[in-house]
């Protein structure tokens, strides 16, 4: 189920007043000078010229500074908002069509930030059933899906199904919210900051869960501020800047240039950032994307401490070396 963005632009300004405002902006810079809509006529756009295709089976990471359009962008993926300009095509069908959007919505599962805030039912079972129930499935099918999706997120059905979701710990609540989306058996899973606010242990467990879901064949889109996570999990990374595509490529391509990322208020993953700084200090480090282990190896080699044997066994992450 590829999702294609074709020159998508979006503005939150109400379409009725928009015409008037755009006309005024076009009429001259006077209004802009008065600061009524800022100095930049483009500032009314939350998204501009977004053009890429989310392919089946990929793991796309999206990052960007607060206000760069990340959340607005992902809401286009299942037709929660429609582009002001351009089109979003799912399997070649325009998402602006209500019927298409209705069909796509169950196949493109969306997990918002702090999804545990959206739990509402009296029991975990009811909460997870909500999606499949709305899809019109039979009671048996619903029950099966609830069991399956709870197992997928590592929760024990027998222990937890009849509990109130509000008795659970924060990490468990988030798992329940996840299960509620998985119960609809989506093809694409869109996650907005899925591990924000979790402690390190729950964060690791959750990232493993997401990685497993991706390996099982789901297309995953993940918005995150954590560059280490994006570098280690994603197959492609999209960096947004003021609503525009600033960079799009493999983690190695995107994170290669730490200075470039800094201009949009982002930092490269820690090992990569250090590698760039060391290069400036005269180190010769050849890889385009570094993790902790690969960086240690190359630094040791550069400093002349790495024995030949270690070099032979060492670079298990040879594929990381794109050059």
């Amino acid at each position: 189920m590829p999702i294609a963005f074709e020159q998508v632009g979006y503005t939150y300004i109400d379409p009725k007043s928009r015409k008037k405002k755009t006309r005024k902006i076009e009429r001259g810079e006077k209004a802009a000078e008065r600061g009524k809509w800022g100095t930049d006529p483009d500032a009314i756009w939350a998204l501009r010229d977004i053009d890429f295709t989310l392919e089946d089976g990929e793991f796309l990471g999206i990052c960007g500074h607060t206000g760069s359009g990340k959340s607005t962008l992902i809401q286009h993926m299942n037709g929660l908002v429609h582009p002001t300009e351009g089109r979003v095509l799912v399997d070649g069908e325009d998402l602006a069509d209500k019927n298409v959007a209705a069909r796509v919505r169950t196949r493109c599962g969306m997990v918002f930030q702090y999804p545990e805030h959206q739990l509402f039912a009296a029991t975990v079972r009811e909460d997870v059933s909500f999606g499949p129930h709305n899809m019109g499935l039979s009671a048996n099918e619903i029950d099966e899906r609830v069991r399956e999706s709870l197992a997928d997120v590592g929760l024990d059905y027998d222990e937890i199904a009849e509990k109130s979701p509000f008795e659970l710990s924060g990490g468990q609540q988030r798992r329940v919210a996840f299960a509620g989306v998985l119960a609809m058996k989506p093809k694409v899973l869109v996650l907005d900051e899925p591990v924000a606010g979790l402690d390190p242990k729950s964060r690791r467990e959750f990232l493993e869960l997401i990685s497993d879901l991706h390996k099982s064949g789901l297309t995953v889109v993940m918005v995150s501020h954590n560059m280490e996570d994006l570098a280690s999990l994603c197959t492609r990374v999209l960096v947004l800047k003021e609503g525009r595509q600033f960079m799009l490529g493999t983690p190695a391509e995107v994170f290669a240039d730490a200075a470039q990322l800094k201009t949009v208020g982002l930092a490269a993953p820690a090992p990569q950032a250090l590698a760039c700084e060391l290069r400036e200090s005269g180190f010769e480090l050849a890889r385009s994307l570094y993790g902790v282990e690969t960086l240690a190896q190359d630094i040791a080699a550069e400093l002349g401490y790495l024995t030949a044997a270690a070099t032979k066994n060492g670079p298990a992450a040879e594929e990381e070396n794109l050059r």
Binding site: P200, A270, P271
Partner: protein, 277 residues
Amino acid sequence: MRETFVSFEEAAFSYDGEHFVFEELDLAIEQGSFTCILGGNGSGKSTLAKHVNALLLPDRGTVYTFGRDTRDEESTYYIRSNAGMVFQSPDDQLVASIVEDDIAFGPENLGIENPELAQRVKSALEEVGLQGFEKHETTALSGGQKQRVAIAGALAMDPAILILDEASSMLDPRGRAGLMRVCRELHEAGMTIIMITHFMEEAAHADRVVVLDKGRVCLDGAPSEVLAQASELTRLNLDVPFACQLSIQLQKLGVPVATCITEEEIKEELCRLHSSR
């Protein structure tokens, strides 16, 4: 000699009377210190923080804040007005719709009147770097700005100690850096700070790190001592700082580097080795 501001003496607390969050907790926090408290979920960090300003009272043992027993009801007012607290969620702790009203809320309740009230609001805003935001709507601020308004609200009460309970966990990296900078500046100006956090890079900038596990203090010392104990941190389900991970990997490969906890340190070490090669 520095005064002890907060002291837990064999304190025990449970929410339900059965499962104790901590038992026999002993901890002393000195005036002017910047202490980071680390620990996984359920380690008792937040419960500890709420004991400092008498929001929670120990079941057994005693907690003294500013030398006063927190169980003594006559001290509660004094303790609360001198121990400012900032919580996790930026949206849950702002009470007014305009920034200056929100900051004035605390001191006004303490009976501070104009012109001192206005002066306090102004200087609190300056301290958190939000000059010019007096008339802004609190709902239109970013998460980082909201947290800074919350801190300004606490500062306007002129507290002797500031407690941040995972105040940065919902912020993006830039918001977190801004919050940390404000804390450093306050600390340099003499404020006592207790910061509860998951983030190792924040702990690296404190002058003392206390790691809690199951309600017990299991590591306590300078960041360079505590954060370098990689295996212990991993056992406690905490992150090991990147610089420390790298130091250990390098040591395994025979590179003679010290176990560093910040990126500046490791970079310096490596450059030294590189130039003397």
